[in-house]
């Protein structure tokens, strides 16, 4: 690895850490801008109980002191107790949710990648045929459909019209539809990405050379073209994860999957501010890290790319 690449990685790492700090800071101050503060509950509480609550959670201290305390806590993954789920720590809720969500997200990403690359390659190889057109029309439609619409429609079609899958995402079979819902958008995007970059690569000189030497059909694709055509797909890893995370917020809600996305949405509805802060920070950090990894991978994989 040359020093230029190393310098770039270092720069991105610093920016990444800075971004995470901005996320934590923003989250903290946004939450404390809530009228009445984050501990305001719907029920009327006696002033004494309110004061006791505030003292217990350190809310009587100045805002900056609270901020510093929260920052040092977060760095050690201490997100405090949940306000609405009595006796549970935020970090426990998050780890429980992540186990389910990770399964969902990784499977969706994996499937999107494989199917997308295959469909994209097929479309590029058979370009301007009926097959190509059909693939492009379907993927265009999927790209324009919000994930919550897709999820709800799948729910209507496969659990209410035909009872193929359980509507409850807590069971194993119930994860099929959420995975499909989450997968369709990135799959369509990757298909289009692969198709255009594959067409680009197929026009390159070294493909002509390979053809001139007598290499045919699929061998050209797998031996020569695919490797280079996949480079742009790498840059999509970060945005794909961001999409899957935000998509999972609604998808887990629709299919009642007990994941971190559902915890986040529920925490907003219940105004469980400690949980909101915790989940936002964890999910945001995840997205920032993924973006970082995919950008760095991109630079390492393709030496032609100029490092600013």
């Amino acid at each position: 690895m040359n020093p230029k690449t190393l310098k770039y990685i270092l720069k991105r790492l610093v920016l990444g850490v800075f971004t995470v700090w901005v996320v934590i800071t923003l989250t903290f101050f946004i939450m404390h801008a809530v009228p009445g503060g984050p501990f305001l509950s719907e029920k009327a509480v006696s002033p004494a109980a309110q004061a006791a609550m505030e003292a217990k959670y350190g809310l009587d201290k100045p805002l900056m002191t609270q901020y510093v305390t929260y920052l040092t806590d977060v760095v050690q993954f201490r997100f405090g107790p949940s306000l609405k789920q009595r006796g549970r720590m935020v970090i426990d809720i998050i780890t429980d949710g992540l186990q389910v969500s990770a399964k969902l997200g990784i499977l969706a990403a994996f499937l999107a990648l494989i199917i997308g690359v295959v469909l994209g390659s097929v479309a590029a190889l058979r370009r301007n045929t009926i097959l190509d057109r059909v693939i492009m029309i379907i993927t265009t439609a999927f790209v324009s459909m919000p994930s919550f619409i897709m999820g709800s429609l799948l729910l209507v079609a496969f659990t209410i019209r035909v009872h193929w899958f359980p509507a409850n995402g807590a069971s194993a079979g119930g994860l099929v539809l959420p995975i499909i819902t989450l997968m369709l958008y990135p799959m369509s995007y990757i298909t289009r990405l692969t198709r255009s970059s594959m067409l680009d690569v197929l026009g390159q000189d070294y493909i002509r050379t390979a053809k001139a030497k007598g290499v045919t059909g699929w061998k050209i694709i797998f031996g020569h073209a695919l490797k280079n055509a996949l480079i742009p797909v790498i840059t999509y890893f970060g945005p794909m994860l961001a999409y899957i995370v935000t998509g999972s917020l609604v998808v887990e809600q629709i299919f009642a999957v007990p994941g971190i996305g559902r915890a986040f949405v529920q925490s907003i509805i219940n105004r469980d501010y400690m949980l909101i802060m915790g989940t936002t920070i964890v999910l945001a950090t995840l997205i920032v890290v993924m973006n970082l990894v995919s950008d760095i991978l991109y630079k390492i994989v393709d030496p032609r790319i100029n490092l600013e």
Partner: protein, 355 residues
């Protein structure tokens, strides 16, 4: 070699050059048709693009329907038909299927009166669903449109300041843009939406803004806070690169005045890019609004938006799936046609794409 050089430098006049042009030669100078402007060129290209034209017609139709249907429709989006003043609640209005009538309406029909049909039935509170969908479409389109305008204005102001002044101002603005860019937008937007609507509600009470509702205002604030970054980057880049273009230099060399350069070169090159990205911003704003509405962070009840209609429909999904399917189709149609139309605009008007 020497001979030819001498010949070129001589002042001998070739008499053949002064023979009057023949009729045939004159024909070359006749303008066959007026020269087309850049805009006409673009429109011609756009008209040839069938997909873009169909999308445009769909958008126009939906927009016109959303604007005009509520004006003459006999039902209102917030009226619970079963709740009439001075009468006991008539539950037969609730949850009507498409084209069904309530018992009181049926009695009217039998007595020979005409009752306007409920095209899509009614919802669980007895409100006409068709008008709710139309009104929801209106809200979603309006949010998308105005949010894009806000983004456009802020983006242009900040972007031109950054591009024009350069130096330390530019560096500071661009660092801020970088940081906002690297933040996960949706999470932050959800967070802001959750807090802002509570913060704004008391602040705007009593002002005309209250009629619009705190949630929609907070949506606009979020767009203003978050999504200007892309536009300002674009505008800044345009300003920086256009200043240095060769054709600007060429026009200056040819003696063009500043106003002509701005009119003929800078605006056509800059405006198309900006208009196109604004056009593409609209579907993404509609997308964001419906997403937030779906999570319950969108418009204030009883005002409907396509996202909140879809969200409400989840409760009675097994009995009334069409209540979900209808807004779902409308929203997908709007987003899809706006995207396709935006792509068509880009193909027709982005001069850099034409080879």
């Amino acid at each position: 070699m020497d001979n030819t050089n001498v010949k070129r430098l001589s002042l001998q006049v070739n008499l053949d050059d002064f023979i009057p042009a023949t009729e045939k030669e004159k024909e070359y100078m006749v303008t066959m048709r007026p020269s087309t402007t850049f805009f006409q060129d673009g429109v011609a290209r756009l008209k040839k693009n069938k997909v873009a034209m169909v999308s445009m017609i769909i958008i126009l139709l939906i927009t016109l329907m959303a604007i005009f249907i509520p004006m003459f429709w006999p039902y209102k989006y917030e009226t619970m038909l079963g709740m009439q003043p001075g009468k006991p609640m008539d539950a037969s209005f609730n949850n009507l299927h498409p084209m069904e009538y309530s018992t009181s309406e049926q009695a009217l029909i039998e007595s020979g009166e005409k009752v306007f049909p409920h095209l899509f039935g009614t919802d669980s509170q007895g409100r006409d669903y068709f008008i709710r969908v139309v009104y929801g479409t209106r809200i979603s389109l309006a949010v998308g449109f105005f949010a894009s305008i806000i983004v456009l204005v802020i983006g242009i102001v900040v972007g031109s300041i950054s591009g024009y002044f350069g130096g330390i101002v530019d560096i500071i603005i661009m660092r801020i843009v970088d940081v906002i860019y690297s933040l996960p937008d949706m999470l932050m937007v959800i967070l802001l939406a959750a807090v802002l609507r509570q913060r704004l509600a008391p602040a705007i009470e009593g002002t005309p803004l209250a009629a619009i509702g705190s949630n929609i205002i907070s949506l606009f604030v979020i767009f203003a806070l978050w999504y200007w970054v892309g536009m300002s980057r674009l505008v800044r880049g345009q300003i920086l690169s256009l200043r240095e273009q060769e054709y600007v230099l060429a026009a200056q060399t040819a003696g063009a005045k500043g106003s002509r350069i701005i009119r003929k070169h800078l605006i056509p090159n800059c405006i198309s890019v900006i208009v196109i990205s604004t056009a593409l911003q609209i579907p993404s704003a509609i997308f964001t609004e419906s997403y937030l509405s779906f999570l319950g962070l969108g418009v204030n009840a009883p005002m409907p938006s396509l996202g909140s209609l879809a969200s409400d429909a989840l409760n009675g999904l097994s009995s009334y799936p069409y209540r979900l399917v209808i807004p779902a189709i409308v929203i997908s149609l709007i987003v899809l046609s706006l995207n396709l139309f935006g792509d068509g605009l880009r193909d027709a008007f982005d001069p850099k794409l034409n080879s």
